[in-house]
Amino acid sequence: MSKDKSKVVERLRAKILPENRIFVKKNLEISEQISAQLKEKNWSQKELARRLGKSESEVSKLLSGLHNLTLKSIAKLEAELGSDIITTPLEACKKYRSPEYVTFKVYVPVPAQVDEVGTEYVEASSVEYKGTYQKLAV
């Protein structure tokens, strides 16, 4: 019996494995990360290609979200961009759990007072709270 051609999407979607979803999702996340770093550095894909010694076409393949990126290519990209593209959860914990402190000042509002001729005035707060707190990792 021949297959119903109009039902091809259902058949193919049923064949998608969890690893296909993970592969594409991670690939696109890496592409997004590289693009963000290029934007930050104000580099074009052409500039990145020049620095990597690759053709523009090869770099566009790397960013397509469908290319099977090797760890070697990621390492080359990280070296050229000067920052991480991927970070493992353990490494992220070490990196982002280290304490960071913020200092803030709080000035307390003082209620308006009335002088002897009936004019309202506000005295600058003489109470200043100062503190240093640890910023929590999100």
Partner: protein, 174 residues
């Protein structure tokens, strides 16, 4: 003999950021994208690539949008088919590449994409490949027709350019 086609909204491929369409050639059982999927379904070597492609279409559609310079390529197919680069602003066909698998398409903007046909590329120069050569030619022809239809407003944009409007009986001569 003249061949006619019409635009078909791919109802299974309507996402938050991208609406996908295809064209349906008169007399064919399914649209061009479904024809591609049906043919590739029979090739066991590309099962994994085809799965990745479907997930990619979904991910781009739901979370990223059809960013031309990042996710879609056109240099290889326009250079192969056209002797001269297209006049500025004229829309051209694009290519989605998964290893040797090629799907030709047309990116109207970040929100609207037409998926056409394709196959498994077996030659260095796609134009010379019997599997994909004819589909590159077809994709460029349709892209040129759709471009003209947008200019003449036979196909028009909705208010915020996130979708297109067209008469379902509108014929595209190929």
């Amino acid at each position: 003999m003249n061949i006619f086609a019409h635009i078909e909204r791919l109802n299974d491929f309507q996402y938050r950021k991208v609406r996908y369409f295809s064209i349906h050639i008169e007399g064919n059982e399914v649209n061009e994208f479904f024809d591609f999927l049906n043919r590739m379904e029979e090739v066991s070597e590309v099962t994994d690539d085809l799965s990745n492609l479907l997930v990619w279409i979904e991910e781009i559609g739901e979370n990223y949008g059809a960013i031309k310079n990042r996710f879609f390529r056109n240099e290889s197919i326009t250079a192969d088919v056209q002797a001269l680069p297209p006049p500025r602003r004229e829309m051209v066909a694009h290519e989605i590449e998964v290893n040797d698998l090629r799907l030709y398409c047309m990116v109207l903007n970040e929100n609207v994409v037409f998926l056409f046909n394709g196959g498994i590329k077996t030659r260095e120069n796609a134009k010379d490949c019997p599997n994909v050569g004819p589909y590159i030619k077809q994709a460029n022809k349709i892209a040129s027709r759709l471009d003209a239809m947008l200019s003449s407003h036979e196909v028009s944009w909705n208010e915020d350019h996130t979708d297109i409007k067209f008469d379902e009986t509108l014929e595209i001569e190929l």
